[in-house]
Symmetry: C2
Subunit: 201 residues, 2 copies
């Protein structure tokens, strides 16, 4: 990275490079692009970033991003309010919503329990989740967490706290070979799980 | 791209996706990252982008980015002011400066002549360049433009206007096989040029 000829440019490159997946070279390319465009572009970009953090609210029920007190899912009367899907982040809600395959509601944990990163159950929305399952009319809880050690730990922790609700059905999203994926290229863990958890035709 | 649950998020993704090399998915990832970080990060990023366009000046001699009237190169008395290197963009200045191999000064054209994109010599800093070569004590002009049709046209146009200065040496940066590059993978044009423009050992 060469010495930049301007302090403002240096500062902008430094800030842009903090974004995920952006190195100093890409950040410099972006900064030079912003410089080349007209003033309105830089202003619009800056305003949209600043107002993002200021204006975005979180749904008071499911903790998903929302412009109002309740998000689009929680305020939609045609959703199935008896099925609750537990996800790690709001990006997971977007991913599941884009499939169109799910009609229930969500609960966003805002992370998973991770002793190594110092994330305890208190840092997440687990307490509110347990409260929701008790107070709302929920029949099924679906775990849609990433298949990592931390994800499994979190699911285990939550499951323990829900054990006393005998009528509750607890499920996990299916793991297996991706649709269109070739068997020979699947890792052993996934292939093994796709066999042990085979479904009847 | 799923429907986003917030107008502010949608707007931010739209603006970020205008940056070069950033698609909607990457923009969404960045926006969600900004939301996760503390408020100061979004504020700093927004301020640095806005002030980039407002605070950055251009060197009145070479048109490079600068915080002052003259850039770091033009105001450095140890540079060789008799050698002038013509480049397309400020990023080319950064690239050449990072080699440490050049001690002369620069002239940034801010683009190349491109009839297809409607860029005429009037849109560039060519007039000022000709004026500089006439008024400053310049012995050699080095063309460091990209080897494209537009780059060659621009070099040809500028050369024509400098023809009447008989004492001026006009050179082009060397084209050839990159250092460390394998001959068998070089394109024919580059390999051909590396032979016709071979240098004596």
């Amino acid at each position: 990275m060469p010495n930049l000829p301007s302090k403002s440019l240096e500062k902008a490159v430094e800030e842009i490079a903090k974004l995920p997946g952006i190195g100093k070279k890409t950040a410099l390319r972006m900064a030079l692009f912003i410089l080349k465009e007209d003033e309105l572009f830089a202003k619009d970009l800056a305003t949209s970033i600043a107002s993002l953090k200021l204006n975005v609210k979180y749904c008071k029920k499911c903790h998903n991003i929302s412009d109002d007190e309740l998000c689009g899912v929680c305020s939609n009367p045609s959703r199935d309010f008896s099925t609750l899907c537990i996800v790690e982040n709001m990006s997971d809600v977007l991913a599941i919503e884009s499939t169109g395959a799910y009609k229930g509601i969500y609960h966003v944990l805002n992370g998973v329990i991770s002793p190594l990163q110092g994330i305890t159950p208190m840092d997440l929305t687990i307490e509110h989740l347990i409260e929701r399952v008790h107070s709302e009319d929920i029949n099924e809880v679906i775990f849609a967490l990433n298949a990592s050690l931390d994800g499994d730990t979190t699911a285990f922790f939550i499951r323990q706290q829900l054990e006393n609700i005998t009528s509750l059905k607890v499920t996990n999203i299916a793991r297996g070979i991706p649709v269109g994926g070739a068997l020979e290229f699947a890792d052993e863990l996934t292939l093994g799980r796709s066999i042990s958890e085979r479904t009847s035709l």
